[in-house]
């Protein structure tokens, strides 16, 4: 055996024993090496085994999992043959993990300072009285504001980005030689993500650390990694330099993944990668990807392809790496844009001076204190949505985009202003007071289908609810209509008897879409409907939504924090900050200069799966808890702030033509 690399995983197979007593493999014969100072990206859909592999590098296995075969070395140390004390020395010391969801990975009952100091106590030579000083140093190093005050805070008092930075500081406390990052920026806002990635890049190069970066986000991988490893169904299917893999992927799965990412530079919808990966333990005779592959032939299903080097330097597990170019790069079906109607188009929904607040009048509090009402969460929204149009609402978390949707759905009453459907008097504020016809007209699709589908109802029961309620269908009619709906979302009638737990994430979201369309709605509110899904599945859902829109003339309000997704599906975009409108206009106008300074900041932070493109970070990623009482909502973070006028006066609405409006004090020519 040759001398192992810095991090060296060899022929690793990990599995568990199923209820039936069979051994099910989660990782199959995986080999991976990382050298000092090198950063490697590990990519794949959920369930591909990428997190299992990263944790295995720490000698850690989730309950039930065990090593079936293979070795794991870290700097020559056999991680599978270490005593508890020795492995505790390495974990969090020389080899540190930065977890996926820092909000849940920090202990809620311990202060930030205590948690970072604990890492110092375990993994540094420092004396106890030096801890405080060093903790502040570490928190400063990860660019947290006011570190001295943060020490005594609890995790829940920090924003998502700040929690992630604390987790990084905790990892750095042990002076690590290698970092394992498990989806460290998933769930963060674009701007925050871009800042965290820059921080990680800087840290890695300063300290010459090895990094294993696990993510399904190829944009993030492109920014941080030198080398990329693509996993599928527990196997490595492609590895090579980041440039090669991301620019010209030589495996059909990697190609499909890349094509399914919506990009700012693209006009059309991304190509969906159909099908789903095999479940662990499923019998596969040939290539695991064959049934989803556009270039598979009989050789692919006959025997499994080996991982072999090819002329351009990558290692590929495919019989036909040369045929990749036959696969489509972009979807031919561009999103159906609303035909520019001559004359005055029909309004589907009118929001008139809408303001919403969560602050409830508190009689007791108002008697005993003299606190004033905080500024409303959402204020002064005037938007008319045209029939058959898709309006995208974008902004960071806290921008009020979901609040507006909830208000349209009747879940929160507006403070002032009104919402009216096409030619009708304003809607009743509360959903329980609305007539059935209004309820039918407005349907909502939620972010996470796991939470929005009743786990004890079969698909048939889920679809029957709106059909019974709005159309009084029963018996054969009901069944017939349910099947039609399933076909509409490209699922067959055999799904009727399944429970949500028997469906994949994408299938669940399709059911949620089918349920919304069962009501034959006029307006469908989509709240981050693709954020919880894998990119490949996301593309499929976007395509489905677009198709349904073409068929049914539905109007969408599409909320997302992902600017590329919104661009792919929307006709018009509204950019929100702190519940105030910054910019609104047709997609092409909003995504082209002149920009509102906030739009500019957002677009600059978008990461493309291209190692040569760097994000443009023009504003910091501070999280503001409440909007300013007056002036421009973006005044505190704006990189182009011109003076006190921004703090005192509400920015004027500058008409740019074609319905494009920018709310800013800076003259449009200078934006």
């Amino acid at each position: 055996m040759t001398t192992p690399s810095f991090i060296d995983v060899r022929n690793l197979s990990i599995g568990y024993t199923s209820r039936a007593g069979e051994t099910v493999k989660v990782l199959r014969d995986v080999s991976l090496t990382i050298n000092r100072g090198e950063s490697v990206g590990l990519v794949g859909e959920s369930g591909s085994g990428k997190s299992t592999l990263a944790l295995a590098a720490l000698g850690y296995f989730k309950r039930g999992l065990r090593v079936l075969d293979g070795q794991i070395h870290f700097d020559g140390i056999d991680m599978l043959d270490l005593g508890r004390d020795d492995i505790q020395k390495i974990r969090g010391g020389r080899l540190a993990l930065i977890p996926q969801n820092s909000g849940q990975s920090l202990t809620p009952t311990l202060r930030i300072g205590q948690q970072v100091a604990e890492a110092l106590r375990l993994h540094s030579e420092l004396e106890a009285d030096e801890f405080d000083h060093r903790v502040v140093e570490l928190l400063t190093q990860v660019r947290l504001p006011d570190p001295a005050a943060l020490i005594s805070r609890y995790p829940h008092e920090l924003s998502g980005g700040q929690q992630q930075r604390v987790a990084i500081a905790m990892a750095l406390a042990g002076q690590p030689d290698a970092l394992l990052l498990d989806e460290p920026t998933t769930g963060l806002d674009v701007t925050t993500q871009a800042h965290i990635l820059e921080l990680l890049r800087d840290l890695a190069s300063d300290r010459n650390m090895a990094m294993l970066y696990v993510s399904h986000d190829l944009g993030a991988i492109a920014r941080v990694c030198d080398r990329v490893v693509v996993m599928y169904a527990g196997e490595i299917v492609l590895q090579g330099s980041a440039r090669q893999v991301l620019k010209s992927p030589r495996h059909p799965y990697a190609h499909g993944l890349l094509a399914s990412i919506p990009r700012l530079s693209q006009q059309s919808l991304p190509v969906a990668l159909d099908g789903r990966p095999p479940m662990p333990g499923e019998m596969i005779n040939g290539c695991a990807f064959a049934d989803r592959c556009g270039i598979a032939d009989s050789t692919c299903t006959a025997s499994p392809p080996p991982l072999v080097p090819i002329d351009t330097g990558e290692h590929v597990r495919c019989f036909h790496p040369g045929k990749i170019s036959q696969l489509p790069r972009a979807s031919k079906t561009a999103a159906r844009k609303k035909p520019s109607a001559s004359g005055k188009p029909d309004a589907a929904l009118v929001m008139d001076d809408l303001s919403i607040t969560y602050a409830k009048p508190d009689f007791l509090a108002s008697l005993l204190t003299s606190r004033k009402d905080p500024p409303a969460t959402v204020e002064g929204i005037n938007i008319t949505i045209v029939k058959g149009e898709t309006l995208g609402l974008v902004g960071e978390s806290g921008s009020g985009k979901s609040t507006i949707l909830k208000s349209i759905a009747g879940l929160i009453s507006p403070k002032t202003g009104s919402i009216a459907l096409e030619g009708q008097s304003p809607l009743t504020a509360k959903v329980e007071d609305r007539p059935a016809v209004n309820l039918r007209q407005i349907q909502l699709i939620f972010q996470n289908p796991d939470d929005s589908l009743n786990p004890r109802h079969t698909v048939a029961q889920i679809l029957a609810q709106p059909l019974r309620l709005y159309f009084r269908l029963s018996g054969d009619d009901l069944r017939q209509r349910s099947i039609e709906l399933l076909e509409k979302v490209r699922l067959g009638s055999h799904y009727l008897e399944r429970l949500p737990s028997q469906l994949s994430g994408g299938e669940k979201q399709r059911i949620a879409v089918a349920r919304a369309f069962a009501a034959e709605p006029e307006i469908v509110l989509c709240d981050e409907v693709t954020s919880a899904l894998d990119v490949s599945v996301q593309a499929a859902v976007l395509n489905l939504l677009n198709e349904l829109k073409t068929q049914q003339q539905t109007t969408y309000i599409f909320v997302s924090h992902d600017l590329a997704v919104v661009k792919a599906i929307s006709d018009r975009i509204a950019v929100l900050y702190q519940g105030r409108l910054c910019e609104i206009g047709p997609v092409d106008a909003v995504y082209k200069p002149p920009f509102h300074p906030y739009t500019d900041v957002l677009l600059g932070a978008v990461l493309e799966p291209d190692p040569e493109k760097a994000p443009k970070l023009s504003a910091d990623d501070v999280v503001e808890l409440s909007p300013p009482a007056q002036g421009c909502p973006f005044q505190r973070r704006c990189p182009k702030k011109i003076g006190t006028i921004c703090e005192t006066d509400t920015p004027p609405a500058q008409q740019m033509g074609g319905g494009h409006v920018i709310n800013c004090h800076i003259p449009a020519d200078d934006l």
């Binding site: 390495i90 969090g92 977890p99 990975s105 009952t109 311990l110 890492a119 609890y154 829940h156 005993l368």
Partner: protein, 319 residues
């Protein structure tokens, strides 16, 4: 924080008032009154009955009597029992002291044991210690108290003769004289409450041990027991506070069966006796005391949870 406290206390007062009103109404609605009970077979004599009612002041409208009594209760004067002589505060006071003694002893034994067992079964889930303790807990919860009480009397006082099987001390005796008679009732009560608390703590420990932050602590290199004590248990034991509080309230007001089996002179038995005597003032007083205990203990538990849980604490202290 202060606002929340004021609100909770006000809510508590409303609850207690409503309870006393309902109890008052309930006893009024029951057929018969203290006089029919007192006179027994002589109640057929209308004159005697009228005289008795006049003496006991039962002729005035119910609302008026309630007002008078409630007014007294607020100032700490619980009035006299229906015979017009005995001070309620003396009767109830002794019994309250006895109930407190019993509850206190049961808690001292039961709560630490329950927490310990809960943590052990949670950490060693599905292994021997867990299986044994969990099975026993199910037994302790499902066997009715009077059955387990009778069994224990049979074993410890009749067969082995170690402990007295029945309490003979009078209600007004000082606390020290209840030993060792109190031991058997304490054991029975501890068993039942221990089982409830243990099962709750167990599931809470299991949940926390599966959490991301416990995994993170392990991957940070924190040794196992240090991780258990500094990361897992503070979070796992938070929900136990409320369950313990409920159990305490139950111990103080609702252990009639045990009091009857062991002839223990506590509040529960006094309540039952007073109801059958139609001794309205005593019933009301006990109901009021028990309701106040429930309200206070729950308030205390909520406050404690709030102090122990940073998430709740910081809502009120920082903005």
């Amino acid at each position: 924080m202060l606002m929340m406290l004021i609100r909770r206390i006000m809510l508590g007062i409303v609850t207690v008032s409503l309870v006393s009103l309902i109890i008052f109404a309930g006893v009024e609605i029951l057929p018969g009154d203290a006089c029919t009970q007192y006179l027994g077979e002589y109640q057929a004599d209308d004159e005697l009955l009228a005289q008795c009612r006049k003496d006991l002041d039962l002729n005035r409208p119910a609302l008026e009597r309630f007002q008078e009594w409630a007014g007294g209760a607020v100032t700490g004067d619980l009035g006299t029992a229906v015979d017009g002589k005995t001070k309620i505060s003396t009767i109830v006071g002794d019994r309250l002291k006895n109930s407190l003694l019993l509850a206190f002893c049961a808690m001292i034994v039961g709560v630490p044991l329950a927490l310990l067992l809960g943590v052990i079964t949670g950490l060693w889930r599905d292994r021997k210690p867990d299986l044994i303790a969990s099975t026993l807990a199910i037994f302790a919860m499902t066997i009715p108290e009077f059955v387990s009480a009778t069994l224990l009397i049979l074993i410890f006082s009749i067969w082995l003769g170690w402990l007295p099987g029945i309490v003979l001390t009078s209600a007004s005796a000082p606390a020290s004289e209840f030993f060792p008679e109190i031991l058997l009732p304490v054991i029975v009560l501890s068993l039942v409450m221990c089982a409830h608390i243990m099962r709750m703590v167990r599931s809470s420990v299991i949940e926390v041990m599966e959490s991301d932050y416990v995994q993170m602590a392990t991957l940070k290199g924190v040794p196992y027991w240090r991780m258990v004590f500094s990361h897992a248990l503070p979070n796992a034991l938070l929900p136990a506070i409320n369950v313990v509080a409920l159990t305490i309230a139950w111990l103080l007001g609702g252990v009639v069966v045990i009091e009857v089996v062991f002839n223990y002179p506590g509040l529960g038995r006094l309540m039952i006796d007073s109801i059958s005597d139609r001794d309205l003032p005593v019933v009301q007083s006990i109901a009021l005391i028990v309701a106040s205990i429930y309200v206070c203990v729950n308030l205390a538990a909520d406050l404690l949870t709030m102090l122990a849980n940073p998430k709740l604490r910081t809502i009120y202290t920082r903005k």
